[in-house]
């Protein structure tokens, strides 16, 4: 059934500001509609993701709007409905796990099973232990668990009462890479099995890309874009989204010419001229364009027709090793614009570049995003 969310939450500098009608210091305007799928809420810290999650869970009360999950109205400002947290039937996993330190794993997992018989409880806890591969830990206390184990227990505890929706607030931010990857797979698998909406907060874009069915991009308290990972990563709607999803090369531009027959538009960013695909732009209009760092091509041999193909002479300013790839800062010779390219290590070994070297860089027009 999914969920429909459309609410506002305002924060004031001082309590009295609200009565005096002074503008709120921060306003969250959360509006999105998703199905029974894995949804990543993505944005910088302070963009409103956690506030959104807390409003949906009922830990915070919105100032207005409506929240409906699986057909159940959680909050409706006009009808004065504000279901208490306890009655929302949700699983919530906190960033720091929030496992009860004075209870062992078994008691932690069973804590949400209010009103179940002890036999049913036992069965359910065992099922959860199995589902998350933490059998044998049931008598341990949280302080005796590793980070990954704690997270698994937190998930088991949240899932035990069969919630209608699962909310996860940066659940893996304190875990190492390998544990993270395993748990991401686990979350995906659980979502498929249970068929409930799962909201997952992260500010890590690799995580967002690998785990999500849908991504909701938050910036400055507003939903900027909602779409599949491919849509938001390769076709960001605006500057904020582009920056958030790791598009390191973004430039403001003015449309110099539109060539309808060839479907090409000529953009000018200060001294830089670049040809992009026609997307209905008009001459004289101001716009922005960007290209992801992995989509820049560093050329080994001379290619002809440089103007038509957006090929520029550049100097290597710096090279940063990212492990499996390298980030190369390139300064274009003619107008000193800086581009960041990301090159896989295997390819980098072939091109043999060093700081200060000259090279050519190609900006493929099919890869350029105009917004």
């Amino acid at each position: 059934m999914g969920m429909r969310v459309d609410f506002r939450k305002r924060y004031y500098r001082k309590k009295s500001d609200r009565k005096k009608n002074i503008e709120a210091a921060f306003t969250l305007d959360a509006k999105f509609e998703v199905g029974d799928e894995l949804v990543v809420l993505f944005g910088r810290s302070g963009s409103g993701k956690t506030t959104a999650l807390q409003c949906i869970s009922g830990l915070l009360e919105p100032n207005g709007g409506k929240i409906v999950v699986n057909g159940k109205v959680y909050f409706d400002c006009h009808k004065r409905i504000d279901l208490p947290v306890q009655e929302r039937s949700l699983g919530y996993v906190f960033q720091n796990y929030a496992l009860f330190p004075h209870m062992d794993v078994k008691k932690n997992i069973a804590y949400g099973l209010k009103g179940w018989s002890s036999e049913e409880k036992e069965k359910r806890v065992n099922k959860m232990l199995q589902l998350l591969h933490i059998e044998g830990l049931e008598n341990n206390y949280p302080s005796q668990l590793s980070g990954g184990q704690k997270q698994r227990v937190a998930l088991a505890r949240a899932l035990a009462p069969k919630p209608d929706v699962l909310l996860l607030d940066e659940p893996f931010s304190a875990l190492d890479m390998v544990v993270r990857m395993k748990l991401r797979e686990k979350i995906k698998q659980i979502q498929r099995e249970l068929g409930i909406p799962v909201l997952f907060i992260t500010h890590n874009h690799v995580e967002a890309f690998t785990i999500a069915d849908k991504v909701v991009i938050f910036h400055d308290g507003r939903v900027q874009q909602l779409g599949t990972p491919e849509e938001v990563f390769y076709h960001p709607k605006n500057y904020h989204v582009a920056e958030l999803v790791g598009m390191t090369n973004i430039f403001d531009a003015v449309v110099r010419a539109v060539d309808v027959p060839s479907g090409t538009v000529l953009l000018k960013s200060e001294e830089m001229l670049i040809r992009v695909k026609d997307s209905g732009l008009k001459e004289g209009e101001t716009t922005s364009w960007g290209i992801r760092p992995e989509n820049l091509r560093i050329l080994q041999e001379e290619e002809t027709g440089t103007q038509e193909k957006n090929i520029f002479n550049a100097t290597v300013k710096s090279i940063v090793n990212k492990g499996s790839s390298k980030l190369i800062a390139l300064e274009i010779k003619e107008h000193k614009k800086l581009l960041i390219a990301e090159v896989a290590n295997q390819f980098f070994e072939n091109i043999q570049l060093d700081t200060g070297n000259a090279c050519k860089v190609a900006i493929d027009r099919s890869r350029v995003v105009v917004f």
Binding site: S57, V85, P101, Y111, G112
Partner: protein, 222 residues
């Protein structure tokens, strides 16, 4: 001599244990409300509870006499209903001990409750537990070290209470002569042998209560 020691010892423990029991229950409730709820006049409630900590015990005692005396606001009601005058009884000493030890209980416990991460409570709410259940099974157990510290301090304060007790309960031999009061009387009357014995017993009681607490806390992981 044994009788001169035995009665003060029993009456002191009776007063201290009773007042500490009441302080523990009332103190935990007040502390929870002060730590976790927002309401109008909270600052005033906080000041009222803390006041006996800064007032000289004789002043607290005097105010209690005014309140509990046969013509006092509360004393009058009690007298009219039961014909019983509470002043100069051991029960009055319990009230005095309660009032002077309450701020110690509330200050320690409220700080311990405030130190409990609210995320534990939020987690309990999302697991379907109401606030009362959450307070009883999550918040208070996690604050138990602070609660115990408050109880021990309150007990010690009650055992050692002098000024307010003298004002409301007097120092009536065989009725309200607690250990602290008896030490003073023995010393005044030049009975140094008795004073020494009473002092040794009080020191032992204090050391024991501290030692037992420390042992207990050491077995708690959280």
């Amino acid at each position: 001599m044994i009788e001169q020691i035995w009665f003060p010892l029993v009456i002191t423990l009776k007063i201290a244990v009773l007042s500490t029991l009441v302080v523990a229950v009332v103190g935990v409730v007040i502390s929870y409300v002060l730590a976790r709820r927002d309401f109008k006049g909270k600052w005033l409630a906080d000041i009222l509870v803390t006041l006996p900590l800064v007032l000289p015990p004789t002043v607290t005692g005097y105010l209690l006499v005014v309140l509990l005396g046969r013509n006092g606001a509360l004393g009058n009601i009690i007298y009219n209903l039961t014909g019983w005058s509470i002043l100069f009884t051991w029960e009055a000493a319990v009230i005095a001990a309660f009032i002077v030890s309450l701020p110690l209980m509330v200050k320690t416990t409220a700080a311990a409750i405030e130190a409990v991460d609210r995320e534990f409570e939020y987690a309990a709410f999302t697991l379907g537990r109401k606030e009362l259940e959450t307070a009883l099974f999550i918040t208070l157990p996690l604050a138990r070290k602070g609660i115990l510290a408050g109880i021990v301090l309150s007990f010690a304060r009650a055992v050692g209470e002098f000024g307010a007790t003298l004002m409301v309960a007097g120092n009536i031999p065989g009725r309200t002569n607690t250990m602290s009061l008896s030490i003073y009387s023995a010393f005044q009357g030049g009975n140094n042998e008795l004073a020494n014995m009473l002092v040794i017993i009080l020191v032992v009681i204090s050391l024991l209560s501290m030692a037992i607490t420390a042992k207990l806390v050491n077995t708690w992981k959280v």
